[in-house]
Amino acid sequence: MIASEARLRELLVCGLSGDRPAYHLFLQEMSTHLRAYFRHRLGGLPDDVEDLVQEVLLAVHIQRHTYDPAQPVTAWIHAIARYKMVDLLRRRGRHEAFNVPLDEESDLLESTDNDAGDARRDVIQLLEQLPDRQRLPIQHVKLDGLSVAEAARLTGMSQSAVKVGVHRGLKALAAKIGGRK
């Protein structure tokens, strides 16, 4: 458990400073913990597990600037995961939303689950609904792996507009996934 926290924290801190393979690994390991955590807790809504895993990963990514490196990474993600889980239950009109049992932060790392089910909402389809100034930057930079400069040249947008487009576009995607338009 403690080894896990230390490892995840190191991966995240490296990731935040620009080490993309470390960041990729961080998200991947996190996803297995999140899946196990939600599968255990969303007994009544098994079809929502993978969607929720994706929603939390997106939230973790968008909110990564709120992670204080002095703080345990487990506490940070646990808070986000619970927040998104309660939000989902509320959206589904589940009365469990009001009494999600309190659990320990360390419960998040208790087990892993590699068996990624299918998400029902498709991020690619949601992407189609975004305006061009957000969709194209995400397509070029995040999906095709081009640099910001290349994406700027291809789209005729400025480099800062490309960066803003990626950021706002991911936020808009997260809002669509979370049913907030």
Binding site: A79, K142, G145
Partner: protein
């Protein structure tokens, strides 16, 4: 999209992110909010005419410093509540202490005064307008605090909204003190506190609605 593909997408081209304390994200909007509230006070209410003489009195400064300290403690609270996994910290103790201080000095003043003088100490000349003026002046600050919180990740939305309201209300009370001629501790302990609680309650009501992410 498979989760693994989403992860690859998120990690691809992800720029380095430097940790900066959330208080920095509040600085810009709050600066504008303070400017707006001060301007609103100067234009609609006006700075008290006798401010030069008033500045000689300790109560003038207490009226500024106590709400300003409350505003700083609320800012501390708000900046913690927008970071997942952080509790409220010690700020609520500071806020409770300030409230207690205001009420104790109000009670002591009332008890020491002759019974006939007490209504004047409590109601002054402006009790009807004071809380609403403070609440009105807090609006630009409340918008500023919510603006800053929008980019962050509050977990307890009602509490976070309430802390934004408390921040806006206390800062606005300090600004209102530049206009307000009342100097009696009981007046301040009742009507200023009420003026701060109105935006706090308003913020708490709006939080779950406006701060979802």
């Amino acid at each position: 999209m498979k989760t693994d593909d989403l992860i690859t997408m998120l990690a691809t081209g992800a720029p380095p992110v430097e940790w900066s304390a959330p208080v920095r994200r509040f600085a810009g909007p709050l600066g504008w909010g303070l400017f707006g509230a001060t301007l609103l006070m100067a234009l609609t209410l006006g700075v008290r005419a006798d401010i030069a003489q008033a500045m000689q009195l300790p109560m003038f400064w207490i009226k500024l410093v106590v709400p300003a300290t409350a505003a700083l403690a609320s800012l501390r609270l708000a900046t913690r509540l927008v970071c997942p996994g952080m509790g409220p910290g010690r700020a609520p103790v500071v806020l409770g202490g300030l409230l207690l201080l205001a009420w104790i000095s109000a009670a002591v003043t009332l008890l020491a005064a002759a019974p006939a003088a007490r209504p004047e100490l409590i109601f002054g000349q402006t009790w009807k307008t004071c809380p609403f003026s403070i609440a009105l002046l807090s609006l630009p600050l409340l918008m500023a605090a919510f603006r800053a919180m929008k980019d962050l990740a509050p977990i307890r939305l009602r509490l976070a909204g309430g802390s934004a309201g408390l921040l806006a209300g206390s800062a606005s009370a300090a600004i209102y003190a530049l206009h307000c001629p009342e100097m009696a501790a009981p007046f301040l302990g009742i009507w200023y506190v009420l003026g701060i609680f109105i935006p706090a309650a308003f913020g708490a009501a709006l939080g779950p609605w406006l701060l979802r992410w």
